[in-house]
Symmetry: C2
DNA sequence: GCAGCAAATGATATCGATATCAAGATATCG
DNA sequence: CGATATCTTGATATCGATATCATTTGCTGC
């Protein structure tokens, strides 16, 4: 900037003002300086600006990425969320600092202006840990009873309820829920499902499975069959579980959807091309990401943003 | 730091040294200062340090994230890569700055110490554009003829060749390749496939399809059938294409793998659970991410790292 | 013709860290 | 005992931007 100042025969501060489009400087001067800056390939030193402004214009996104074949890493979900976040923040002139939980102690993270927490396993302890940083923070997921932080998530309860209503409309009386209600989001799906079923005098059976894999879905149905449990509908809390379930049902000679209705969750791209095309509950992750970003930005600006729940949509296909 | 200096009754610079574990300061003093820092929740101001050191300790990762249902956004691939990158960089004390191509003009990106380019569509023009930033840069993908930049990718050519050999070993004489050789990586797979086939006197047929979707795979096989083309093997350059192809073959009454062998690419988690379990070429993305990160770090340190090609593995299952 | 005001620019201090060089304290040695 | 080396600490300048207050210039209106 000092160099530019010399070139333009003005002071450093005028250059600074010109480059930030300040109305304090004559339009002519401003254009001249901006042209010079372009011409000489001037690049703002972000560190210097941030130091002076006491801001980093950076939002840290903390993703849970476990090494192995965990759901989080392989499902499209976090990436689409990241896409939405990245787009929105970038547009607002912020940068996205991506970290795993382990790396979150890095100095750069602590210097962030805000925090976004992703990952289904975001439990209270993790939230509290990051809360101590004292940064504006938004969490993706479901809202627990005593949560005070800002949460953005999709309406898991409504999703569960919609599935329950669908099953009822198909005359199903003995539905199964497969999943891990230990995760708050899954628990919400289960609650919505159970509550809505109860309205119609139906009591679903819970088969707890911790892994969100095809194998796990197969296993769940096999264990049901082995135990001789009667059922005519399955609500799996992930599409992979649902696919596994259908595979297992097929092997058992039970027809989907004639004998058993099956509905998955997430509506991953493959669901539509599954054979048979899988019915599923869709959440709009891109929108989720956008919203997460807007909320942090709001918090950073000192606004009073509340938590928000995004609608979901039951996509009925052939199962 | 000035406050800590007062508290410890030393100078700022001693505090600075103590906190960075400099051997220049007495162990006792150092411990005392570090204890004080912890106690008072001192946080390093990253901007200030970066300003002084003329470094940002940040590597920008530029991902192509197109809005719609593009392959990039939904496949597990970039996320796993990101996981590897993030892990490695974080361990080295660097931060990961995630951006889309559009956001890459942001000041923070230009301030990065290095650049990693991801996305199958990384063409020459994009590479050149970012090259102008003059930063250490590593690209994921395949190596073009005139490429001078550092490239990390998996051995697409070997992948294609392995598939060709497999087909030959199964006695297949009329193989089809489905995919878009416009992408350099895909082109390499095709080349390896074609060259290795030629060794055995076989000439594959190329069906060009630009989308990496199940629908596209179905469409490809249907068009083959409509044109009355004879074939007994399909090498699809993505698992989704392969799944679509198998679906379509099924509809046409052709058995897999009895009548037609099918092999996909990427070995996505679902491939193993597909019905029938899909044979596929696997690349180790986690390792790729790690390697990408190491290369940039090397470049940043001024080392002379070369390009590198990672091995792939043909996973033969039931197709 | 001069006070008063607006527009444009500048001088200086500052953000919070580290590099460089200087200097005091202590130890070692012939 | 003085000289030299070693250990430890400090003073000062600096990284590159912006906030604040000051100043200059040109113009308006009575």
């Amino acid at each position: 900037m000092a160099d530019l100042a010399q070139l333009a025969d003005v002071s450093k501060i005028t250059v600074s003002r010109a480059l930030s489009d300040s109305p304090l400087v004559n339009r002519e001067t401003r254009d001249r300086i901006q042209a010079l800056a372009r011409e000489h390939g001037y690049k703002l030193n972000v560190s210097a600006r941030n130091l002076r402004l006491r801001r980093s214009y950076t939002v840290a996104v903390i993703v849970e990425m476990k090494p192995s074949n965990d759901r989080t890493m392989f499902d499209p979900y976090p990436l689409v969320l990241l896409g939405g976040i990245s787009q929105e923040l970038t547009a607002a002139g912020y940068s996205v600092l991506l970290t795993t939980r382990q790396g979150a102690t890095a100095a750069a993270v602590q210097a962030a202006d805000g925090l976004i927490l992703l990952g289904q396993g975001v439990h209270q302890d993790a939230v509290r840990r990051f809360d101590k940083l004292g940064l504006p923070m938004v969490v993706w997921g479901a809202r627990g009873e005593h949560d005070e932080h800002t949460i953005v998530g999709s309406d898991n309860r409504a999703g569960g309820a919609a599935v329950a209503r669908h099953f009822v409309s198909k005359g199903r009386r003995n539905p199964i829920f497969i999943g891990n209600p230990g995760h708050l989001e899954i628990f919400e799906r289960l609650s919505g499902f159970v509550d809505e079923s109860a309205v119609h005098g139906i009591k679903p059976l819970l088969i707890r499975r911790d892994e969100f894999t095809v194998a796990s879905g197969i296993d769940a149905v096999e264990s049901l069959a082995a135990r001789g449990v009667a059922f005519d509908a399955i609500f799996a809390c992930s599409d992979l579980l649902a696919m596994g379930a259908i595979r297992a049902l097929d092997a058992l000679g039970r027809k989907v959807p004639k004998d058993v209705s099956v509905i998955g969750y997430d509506d991953m791209p493959l669901a539509a091309s599954f054979m048979p095309p899988l019915s599923s509950v869709r959440q709009d992750w891109q929108a989720g990401g956008t919203l997460l970003a807007r909320k942090v930005l709001g918090l950073i600006q000192g606004e009073d943003v509340g938590s928000e729940v995004l609608p979901v949509e039951l996509v009925v296909r052939n199962t």
